[in-house]
Symmetry: D2
Subunit: 363 residues, 4 copies
Amino acid sequence: MKNSFGQNVTVTVFGESHGAGIGAVLDGMPAGIPVDEGFINHQLSLRRPSGDISTPRVEADNYIIYSGVFNGFTTGTPICIVIPNENTQSKDYTADRFNARPSHADFVAYEKYHGFEDYRGGGHFSGRVTTGLVAVGAIAISALKQKGIKIGTHISRCAGVNDAAFTDYETEIEALNNKQFAVLDNAKGEEMISAIKAAKADCDSVGGVLETVVLGMPVGVGEPWFDTLEGLLSHALFSIPAIKGVQFGLGFNIADLNGSKANDQFEVKDGSVITKTNNNGGINGGISNGMPIVFSCAVKPTPTIAKEQNTINFKQNENVILQAAGRHDPCIVHRARVVVDSMVAITLCDALSAKFGTDWWLK
Amino acid sequence: MKNSFGQNVTVTVFGESHGAGIGAVLDGMPAGIPVDEGFINHQLSLRRPSGDISTPRVEADNYIIYSGVFNGFTTGTPICIVIPNENTQSKDYTADRFNARPSHADFVAYEKYHGFEDYRGGGHFSGRVTTGLVAVGAIAISALKQKGIKIGTHISRCAGVNDAAFTDYETEIEALNNKQFAVLDNAKGEEMISAIKAAKADCDSVGGVLETVVLGMPVGVGEPWFDTLEGLLSHALFSIPAIKGVQFGLGFNIADLNGSKANDQFEVKDGSVITKTNNNGGINGGISNGMPIVFSCAVKPTPTIAKEQNTINFKQNENVILQAAGRHDPCIVHRARVVVDSMVAITLCDALSAKFGTDWWLK
Amino acid sequence: MKNSFGQNVTVTVFGESHGAGIGAVLDGMPAGIPVDEGFINHQLSLRRPSGDISTPRVEADNYIIYSGVFNGFTTGTPICIVIPNENTQSKDYTADRFNARPSHADFVAYEKYHGFEDYRGGGHFSGRVTTGLVAVGAIAISALKQKGIKIGTHISRCAGVNDAAFTDYETEIEALNNKQFAVLDNAKGEEMISAIKAAKADCDSVGGVLETVVLGMPVGVGEPWFDTLEGLLSHALFSIPAIKGVQFGLGFNIADLNGSKANDQFEVKDGSVITKTNNNGGINGGISNGMPIVFSCAVKPTPTIAKEQNTINFKQNENVILQAAGRHDPCIVHRARVVVDSMVAITLCDALSAKFGTDWWLK
Amino acid sequence: MKNSFGQNVTVTVFGESHGAGIGAVLDGMPAGIPVDEGFINHQLSLRRPSGDISTPRVEADNYIIYSGVFNGFTTGTPICIVIPNENTQSKDYTADRFNARPSHADFVAYEKYHGFEDYRGGGHFSGRVTTGLVAVGAIAISALKQKGIKIGTHISRCAGVNDAAFTDYETEIEALNNKQFAVLDNAKGEEMISAIKAAKADCDSVGGVLETVVLGMPVGVGEPWFDTLEGLLSHALFSIPAIKGVQFGLGFNIADLNGSKANDQFEVKDGSVITKTNNNGGINGGISNGMPIVFSCAVKPTPTIAKEQNTINFKQNENVILQAAGRHDPCIVHRARVVVDSMVAITLCDALSAKFGTDWWLK
């Protein structure tokens, strides 16, 4: 299990940026989940580059559902979706074949795969591989919706600009899921976009932080060791290229509080158990406590930049200067958003199936 | 696979705080690794409460190696180590059986296990369960040492006090691994300890941040999807009770840098490939690049405190006031240190075995 | 995952024949399953050597439940049971340290573990390791019983003598589970025992076939690829030392039938779906069809015999003559029976949990 | 993990008989294995129906390698091969939508997938799904060849006719791998083919037994518990539709021998360790001993036959008479042969990688 993740629900990714196609297999999903191709297209559009803050390589993302869907519903067997690659300009990349882009995977790929890797456009390490995850993730999101579980992510910080905080999860999540640039405060979003454009003009890139909320998780999902919800989600999230930190609830900020301030006091309210604060992000002892699951991910600035950089030619083992050709993104924070949602949905489908089994989903 | 982790090297934990014993099984370790019981004892002593900044429950941690070790070496078969529980005062806990300690697992355990959980002293959620991980982790650390791989962790922040930064990994790691309270700057350590005592006097608790360094990792370990080194390590680390955030390299701070500043430029130096900075914590594309692996973990303040707190009785579904009885730690950051090292060692043994196989370790 | 098996319910074994102890961890079992120590003892007694058809090494099998059981019920956390080794006579084995018993694992263990293996009494390859499986398997059997699922195995052939065929599963299973030598026809059993004694007198050993029936399996358990019920069960069964063949329903005999004779015709009878014959052993397409699961296992004659045999000293790489010292069984078919039942129970708990989840068991 | 198998090398299958396509993902294969499309085509041709002893549905099996292959070599990343379905006549199947073919998976699929299954042509249970396994299996076979490991399978029995026994593995394996109907004795093959034709003329079907040999396996591969070579191989083999029994070495026939006859005596011959007999099929204690791995599989007669059969309509829950429409095979033994070889190759790549790691393959 390398390019596969999950036990009861398992996702497998495959593909290289400039190969015949990329895709994913989602296995273990229950039968009877509606598959809405309009929704898959919508999700893919959220990941697709658009406007002048993204790479000029734009793919139509015409996908083929090879299996696991019949008459508009999942069949319960593996769902394989492939997105053939169309708009490839591989000649951009061959010149720098042996020059390691700093902070990119070129060097480690060469070492790991002994020179046999498909190096074109980042190959299997390309963000393009996430397209398959988004396509199958749309089905996982649909499955969760049927059980009243909703996911939403906003760009809580980008290029040093903070978005507003959530004030009303329910309605704000709804809105976020229809925004190409997912912020709560549009004015802040405009500031971020300006900063991205400025970085682009300077042949540079910027990073940011994504904050995610999951509503409607039942109590008791996750395990004390090792399949804690935090462990499962972080394992999934760190696969998304550029993510370098994951924190739940207050995360690193909880370290400075005293226990009496950090603890989330339980309360029975209108007959239901809630906590007055949610500093633990809805997870105690690795297990959902019924409050919203809240976490955030640090997204590093895109490593591929047009600026000149010192680096090495790893075949010659010598120092060189690199000015990256090819097409790149000055920022991927906004595009990574839907990938986060997709991976979270798949991971939660897995954790829920462990507790409730496969048949639960149809009840 | 719930209480097990890893594929080529797998660890399984078991036990409850006040049951007959706790322990772990470490499977997949190569044959021929020296098992030094003095070192196991040393590691256990680093986890054991000591002084007046820890719980007064002190166990001798007399362990039994039931299997997998013969004539002082690993046999290549599963290593089971059990630490029988001795100093148990279960009567402390029964009074509050149905009162949920805020931010602890009492409520979720009750829901998940339908009231059958062993609630005494936190049961299977107790930090005591980590004793088994430390015992078997000592063997994983010994295996890595034979391959020139070393792990060291310091308390980079505790109760709002910062430790000094690393200046010389090699010698500082050595020193840290022999310190009960692992700081680089002893004066800062004294400040932290004073703050812990103050919190204790106030019936409260404090948290902190642990920073870990791994030296000597070969290039090319880890997978692009999903078994990235970040994903594997975070999955393991979030199992450790109280950890709420994990970040690699600059982590959340990398989000504010431009790519040109964040990127780690490669350089050939004395014939070897290094990077001039290590903002990515030694990992590119999920794979080790030969630089030190660097990451940090946020440890929340101990949730069990002696201060009065509002909470619920989850059996009666009513609000109550809780003043926790039992023995607890005003801080677990310093004790969690060796648990982090142990989990990291086990995880890296797994990732290394995937690349190099079992036989490599004896070469 | 080497010495572990299963996904939703996972069993891990550890231990060597002459080490400190052997045992098993059973994880993923639901909370609330009654743990009847009398029943565990009963199951262990079925595996224990008895009479003069077994090894004279008799252990009391005093087990310690270290975890996962509280107030007589499973807690839902890992159940670790250890059986310390008591009656060890290791001196018997050292003389032949480097002489490979034919068809035993001595040679492969030496090669695989590079000489670090605990060779005493077969070490980790010893049939004694199955004691742990039987102990935790008793809990799995109890869980199945609560859901109306029953397992029974008889010695369908031993030393060339055939037992009678099943005529009434329900009552015969009940009887078998209380017999030390599990045959349907006691007269045939006496014949088998005589043949075993004759082999023993001749310093030789005999083998046989075990046939197992599972009643009460719900329809729809198992997967088309790769976790077919046949695949899961055979994977588990081939771990039991000495098993060299596994077949379902008619097994190898189905190969000679025409489809029209082999096919099990469906019928609605009293409102329920049954098949008129059960040549497929209750499994179609890898999935239970509601009929009894029926399969049989070939058990080879015990490889360790007192007769002189040609073999090698694998350290010297030279041919030698071996007359095995130590204590051995002239037949293990009757003792393997309860191990089969235990492994089957654990495997079915896993497959059922995949479909129904963890919470189902308490309904 | 349901439709995936393996740990270090993992295969995932997907697809339905009459969906858009079927295929497989093979992950964990080392980089640098030559991918010979001529050989893939050759392997697919061995599985393809031909002559008048197979179904008239003949597909060109034009496959698309979507990923993991670059410049004629594996890249080390997941290899996804899809074979679009072309020659589909779904109208044949709809009439009998709710009529369960005896011994086929129609009924269990309906129960398991709650009526959402793609029922056309057997859907995900169709033997057609094995096409993907054969395509990726060809690459696994190529990898093994580079390490001197060869696999060959013959039809040792079909329709009651026995093939000759192996006399010279090396050359006979070579010949078998180039035969459409894999027998050692062509005259016996003609007898089998006549019997198949006779069954077909009678609207019936026949079964048989496949015997497989693996040459060149290094000593020490496999685990004592639970990932014995027998366990791993049988798990993989029972996924192949129609296989109902798997036995190693003498298999069920070993049960009747005494230990002194069954045991394979070791011998040092020309400096190498061999066994004089190979009754254990090259496996001791679950681990390869350096002798040829030998096992056989029982293949049941094709359940879909044109003869009238009693069965049920599972929607109406009533008894009906079925005369299966559609196109079917009177025998699949000869076509299953290459599927067996493919699954064995994938499984052995996995087991070898566990011992030797990924980098070993290029040495």
